[in-house]
Every structure is written in structure tokens, then in C-alpha cells.
Symmetry: C2
Subunit: 334 residues, 2 copies
């Protein structure tokens, strides 16, 4: 799932470079592509973004990435010879050993795309690719709120819901690279009816942005709210803060369902930290309501549920720090 | 939870010893204590068991263990000088780093018992202690159905329910040694009402042996079944195989609830193997009904759900193989 939204091509510059080389972190979203140029300490030397609407072909995406990287290098009076490594997060199941994006959602529609090889061929530097939510979890672990925490779960709640699971200081990926695909979790209140492939899972149908909007639409009536029937999840949560009963009902269901899922994961993993990210997950009222339910639920399982400190920058920050790791590994083996 | 039940003190002998030394595996249950003497290949040279009813004091348990070990050594014309190591599984939360049993259920009532130190002091050999369910999972990993499987979950379903979680070939224990305490998991059909400490969790209240018996009692009526109102879980499952409608209803609820929990864990961990153990979990009809529900549930998550191949020997086998590992580590560092 894409954590970020941004506008048309844009370049931001920051500071003067005096380092030994650059790395690039890339955030491939369903509708947007973002790149950050950084030195090997993680200091940012420029950001670039562009729309990917209508662009799905992997080679075209890789060429866009190369364009963005070249632009950022040029802005810093540098060339590709100064680029050490690149890491990219993609919105799909990703085999990090082979560097293949196995499957993405409909927005990109990728199947078995050798993204790492494509990037390495295009840029002639070491590359790393990962699922976007795992990349965001890596960001929180290395530069965010989860630094120094051995075991934690990063919950990306946007249109849908996904989790990045860090165990013993490493991302845990499971047998088929899909660990943390919790959109289909079954908790009290979710429908246990089988779900067709491609449809949202029972859990994200309540907790994800689309599900929240659907719930709102199903109870909306003129006169009961000042919000339109097509309000967004964050607008609905803002409205809940103003004590609108309809919005409170939507918040109550989504936070209760989220609390149950966190409770279950905390039981299974005995993991005491859950970091909320994604546009919906970052809304303060969701975290607050979820914590209240967990407090009432049990003295047994009482994990910390806190917002991501990197916010919308979690994924691209994770990509930058992964690129730094790749650059250091390459330097050691050179 | 205790996986095994056995009678009064008894010694079984097996074969002639010709090895370099022995190890002992111990299964401390709520009502029974079992010991296996083995060589460093895992071949068994004798088994011993005794009742622990009325015996709760840790030092008394350790003396019983020493008595059993001495008896088994004597039976094999050996002495304590021939004993290399010992490993014991206890029915409670266990810190395997410090060797302390943090808490057990009411049957033993232990709090912060330094069991490893007590065993090492008593027997003057290296010892290892672990939670009984984790020990059983270790048994399945090293000598049972899960050999060679990187990631799997061992589900011990007896009176209550617990899980031993093996990730990347190692037991995963969580932040406070309670990973796999899934008796409190919330799935569709379980009560989300808060549970007092000491009471069974919402999940094990349906899937565990006690919960199955309660359900049976709540729907039992004379004339509707040949089984008594106080039938055991396995008797009820046998009765379900004979198509008794009441017993089928109990089986349907427990297998559906178990299937949901497996489904959730398979999503979170992307783990494709679940091994069923414990007296209730080993009943073939429970596995069969659970597999049928998972098949209907989703094409997305389709883990293998199979019975433990070690059955009631899983835990003590795990203890033996853990003792072998400890003996080898000690030999390497000697």
C-alpha cells in the first residue's frame, strides 16, 4: 500500500554536500514516486517526486527513478559516479533475496518483476528492494520511534492495512514473503465469510480507509452531520473529535477492531510495541481510542500503541537507511 | 500445561548401553513427573515416572528428579559420573536465559523458581529449563514431524491451549517469554469481555478440553446421547465420529474457532505448518474438521495442519534433544 501522496514533479534542495558519496531511497507508490538523496549518515541532500498515474511498466518506472536520481545528483553538483547504492520500497509482496516484486495491487499490477536487477542494470550500483510497509518498519527501527526495540510491529493503515514485523532486530518475512498481511485477520465483529482474491479482507474492510468510508456512507443521513457522504477517513475522524455521533460510531468500530488485532498479535508474538503509520493510522484519535479499548480489555496484554515518529516519511527514510546498509556491505566486501 | 498423564512410579528399560555418556530429559507436569534417559544420539535407555500430586515445593520436585535419574542410571549399570546434562520442561512461563520458571498455573503455583540452578546444584551437570509447550515444539523440530521446517507453530491443546512458535529454526519467545500464549486470542465467536487473571481465556474456553466439556454440559440432555454429562473432550470427539448431533455441534464450534486462530497466525507469521499436539489436539477428528474449515475459508491462507508425530512423547523428546544440545555445547567449550 502507498503511504504517501504528492503532486507533480518537484525538487527540494537542502544543504551543501561534503561527503564521500550518496545513496538514494525510493518510495514507489500506486500513484506517486518519491526519491530522497542522502549521504551515508542519513542526512538528506534533496527530494524529488513525480506522478506515476498511467505509468505501470517496470522499465518505465526504473527510467523515472534514474531521471529523478540524475536530477538530484545534478542539483548537488554530483554525478552517478558519486552514487553508492539505491533501495526502493514497492507496494507489493517482495522477495528480498532475489530482489523480485512478486505481486502488487491493481494500481501497478506487477507480477514477478526483477526490480533489483533492473535498478542495478540501469544505475550500475548495488540495489535493494522490499515491500513498502517493511521498508517503513525498517525506517522506524533505524531512524524512528522504534530505535533500539528488538521486537515491534509497524501497522500501516491507509486505504488498506498491512504490518511490518520486526523480531530480534530483523524484519520477519515468513515462508512466502507475506508475513504481516493482516488485512484478512478474523476478530470479533469481522465477517468470517470467505473473501475473493483482490477484494479487501474482513479486517481492513473495517479498519482501512476505504472500509471507514463505506461504514460512514452506510450510516450517513442528511441533517445528522455537516460532513458530506463522501468524506475521507481522516475527515470522519476529525468529525469524531467534534463528538458527532455518526463519526463516533465509525471510530468506535474501527478502533475496537484494531485493538482486537493488536491484542491478538501481542499474544502470539509477546511484542510490546505497536507503531501506527499510514494516513489513517497516523490520526491521533484512532490511536487514542485503540489504547482506551486495550486498557479496558485486559491487564494481561498491554502493549504500547504509539504513532510513527517519521509519519509520511517512514517508508522513504527506511529506503535511505537500507541503501546506506547496502553501501556499507558493498564497501566491506570490496 | 501438562501434555502427559501417567501412573505411579514405574521404570521401563530398553536396550544395552554402549555409549560415551547419558543425558536426561524431564517432563514436569501438573500431576506427573516423567524422565527419559538417553544417549547423545537420542536413543532411549529407560523411562521413569511418578505422581507429583501433593508435591509442589521446587526442592522436593528436584529431589524427585534426582531419584528418578539415579534409578535410571542404576538400571543401566551407570552412575552420575556418566550423566552429561539434563533438560526439563515445566508448565509455565520460563526465562530460558536465566533458567527461571517465572510463573506456573495453580497446580504447581511456582513464582520465580530458579529451576536450572537447583538442577545444576543437585546434579552437578549443565541443565536447561523451558516451558513445556516450547519443549514439545523443540521435540517436533528435532525428532518429529517438523524436522527441517524453518517456521512452524506447535499447538498444544489439552485442558488449556498454548503454542510453541519456531521461526527461522529457533523458538521465538517474545519480550517477556510469553510468545504463543494464545489462550486469550479473540476470533469471531469468542467473547471479547475482559478476562480475570487465572481464568481461562476466551479462545481456550472454546478450544481447550475444559471448554469443550463445559459446552457439552450446557447442551447435554438425557435421551439425546449415550454419553454422560461429564464426558471428556476426547470421548465427545469420539461421539462426534459416530455422528451424534450434540457432539457434532461441540466439534463444529471448537474446530471453527481453532481454524480462525490458525488462519490469523498464518496471516501474521506467513507460516505454513501447524502441528497439533496435546491430548485434545491429537484427536484425529479435530484436525480433520479444522482442515475442512480452513479449506472453505480461503485460498489465500492454506497452511498444513497435521498431528504431532511424537504424540504424548513430544515434550519429553524435546527435553532429551535439548539436553543433548546442552551436552554438546558444554563439550565444545570444555
Amino acid at each position: 500500500m502507498a503511504l504517501y501522496q504528492s503532486g507533480s514533479p518537484a525538487v527540494q534542495n537542502s544543504q551543501q554536500s561534503s561527503n564521500q558519496g550518496y545513496v538514494a531511497g525510493v518510495d514507489i507508490g500506486g500513484t506517486n514516486l518519491r526519491i530522497a538523496l542522502s549521504d551515508t549518515t542519513g542526512a538528506t541532500f534533496g527530494k524529488w517526486s513525480t506522478s506515476t498515474v498511467g505509468i505501470r511498466e517496470p522499465n518505465a518506472i526504473v527510467r523515472l527513478i534514474a531521471d529523478g536520481v540524475d536530477t538530484l545528483l545534478h542539483q548537488n553538483a554530483a554525478t552517478r559516479a558519486n552514487l553508492l547504492s539505491i533501495a526502493a520500497g514497492a507496494p507489493g509482496v517482495t522477495d528480498t533475496d532475489s530482489g523480485i516484486v512478486i505481486a502488487t495491487s491493481y494500481l501497478l499490477g506487477w507480477r514477478d518483476v526483477p526490480l533489483r536487477d533492473l535498478l542495478e542494470t540501469e544505475l550500475a550500483i548495488p540495489a535493494f528492494v522490499d515491500n513498502d510497509v517493511n521498508m517503513a518498519a525498517f525506517g522506524e527501527a533505524h531512524a524512528g520511534i522504534a530505535q533500539g526495540t528488538k521486537n515491534f510491529v509497524f501497522l500501516a493503515i491507509g486505504t488498506g492495512v498491512g504490518a511490518g514485523i520486526v523480531l530480534k532486530d530483523e524484519l520477519f518475512r515468513g515462508d512466502n514473503w507475506t508475513a504481516g498481511e493482516i488485512g484478512y485477520m478474523l476478530v470479533p465483529g469481522t465477517s468470517p465469510a470467505p473473501v475473493e482474491r483482490g477484494n479487501p479482507g474482513a479486517f481492513e474492510a473495517i479498519v482501512g480507509g476505504e472500509g471507514i468510508q463505506s461504514h460512514w456512507q452506510s450510516i450517513w443521513s442528511e441533517g445528522s452531520t455537516t460532513l458530506p457522504v463522501d468524506a475521507t477517513a481522516t475527515q470522519i475522524f476529525d468529525h469524531a473529535l467534534e463528538n458527532n455521533p455518526l463519526a463516533r460510531a465509525v471510530l468506535a468500530l474501527s478502533s475496537r477492531t484494531l485493538a482486537y488485532a493488536i491484542y491478538n498479535m501481542a499474544l502470539v508474538l509477546n511484542c510490546n510495541l505497536f507503531v501506527l503509520g499510514g494516513s489513517v493510522g497516523l490520526h491521533p484519535v484512532l490511536g487514542e481510542a485503540t489504547r482506551a479499548i486495550l486498557r479496558d480489555q485486559s491487564a494481561r496484554v498491554q502493549p504500547r500503541v504509539i504513532p510513527s515518529s517519521l509519519g509520511p516519511e517512514a517508508q522513504i527514510t527506511g529506503a535511505v537507511f537500507r541503501a546506506i546498509q547496502i553501501a556499507k556491505t558493498a564497501a566491506l566486501s570490496a
